[in-house]
Symmetry: C2
Subunit: 193 residues, 2 copies
DNA sequence: GGATATACGGAGCATAACTCCGTTTAACAA
DNA sequence: TTGTTAAACGGAGTTATGCTCCGTATATCC
């Protein structure tokens, strides 16, 4: 019953190359706002056949997810680094701001996030976890240091942050988002009422 | 150049009836989670031809928007009522909780919200305004009463709230969302840090 | 160099969005 | 009530796009 892996052969080099090319093209398109780009077009730009695209990514969501996941992983990786460099609360604040910056710079996350939530939700199952773990560690540290109330749910903060990404249009958006980070931090402090 | 209106005739009754029927069917479908329901199916359930649907709503987004807008308007209307019944901060808290309840009860908003943000964005232009006005009045009152810091942007709170609607799956979600409301309120108080 | 698993490509199918236009009907006036 | 007409209807047909299928090509390994 155990899932046996028998990698009889090393994965083919052309396969990996094409896969990466597809991801690059897709990411580039999403970043420019072409969220609804036809998959045929993605394949064309990547210089591969449509069949190849579908072999690597069984459907549109799978492709978006792959792009999305890579970005989120990088964001999550920043958490431990920040935790090592700053006191708990400031580490959290810095991370949340990074989150905002990240969304502001690459439109990948926000648009990809939408249109997926309504779908299978399978994306969140994983990607959620990796981010969840990141905030979790930061918030736990703040609570352990007595800076945060013990009843703060890290997910709450993540949710609020994700919301901001939905509105990532409009001028002055970034500053607004960073103010929100401060509100959230302040509201979570143990000294607060 | 002024936009002249000459309603030579009263709008036809069957037209209005069909339009309403389409809205009802669509709302019902969305509420049950059938966000991707084919428009032919919507027309069929409403007992009208596909042509009729498209005359009333030029495309899918227009239909979703119409449903969505009606719901948001109702939510916005609650703001003045609550403001009359409670002191400023509590009115805001109550309204934000209503927001959460609303999302929890009817899945209309969350799924419809997604898949539209990535689109034309025209939806937010209006619907945003009506909600914006609602929160604005509540927050302004709280600031005027000296309960909130003067630099609080009502939109920040709205954004955070909208984010929660994205994660409206998973157990214990509602309680979590309400905790977030409290965090936001606490973080906005003038007494805080 | 031969065998074979692995990957490729793109024609073709299915589905769903959206258009077009001939037919029907509600509103109004005489 | 009946005639006129603007308004609305319906659904066949067009187009666009997601996705499948399978014969061909090639990287890997021996």
């Amino acid at each position: 019953m155990t899932d046996v892996k028998k990698p009889r052969r090393r994965p083919r080099s052309d396969g990996q190359r094409n896969r990466q090319q597809l991801l690059d093209v897709a990411k580039a398109a999403f970043t420019v706002g072409e969220v609804d780009i036809p998959l045929d077009e993605v394949a064309r730009r990547a210089g591969v056949g449509i069949g190849t695209l579908y072999r690597h990514f069984p459907n549109r969501d799978a492709l978006i997810e792959a792009v999305y996941r890579a970005e989120l992983d990088r964001l999550a990786e920043a958490a431990p680094v920040l935790a090592a460099q700053h006191p708990p609360v400031e580490a959290l604040r810095a991370w949340m701001r990074l989150f905002v910056d990240y969304i502001a710079a690459k439109q990948v996350i926000a648009p990809a996030l939408n249109g997926l939530v309504g779908g299978t939700g399978a994306l969140y199952a994983h990607s959620g976890d990796v981010l969840k773990a990141a905030v979790n560690s930061l918030v736990s540290a703040a609570i352990a240091a007595g800076e945060f109330r013990a009843d703060i749910d890290p997910l709450d903060l993540l949710r609020a942050l994700a919301g901001v990404s939905n509105f990532s249009a409009g001028p002055g958006w970034e500053g607004s988002a960073k103010r929100l980070v401060d509100i959230l931090i302040t509201g979570s402090r143990s000294s607060a009422s």
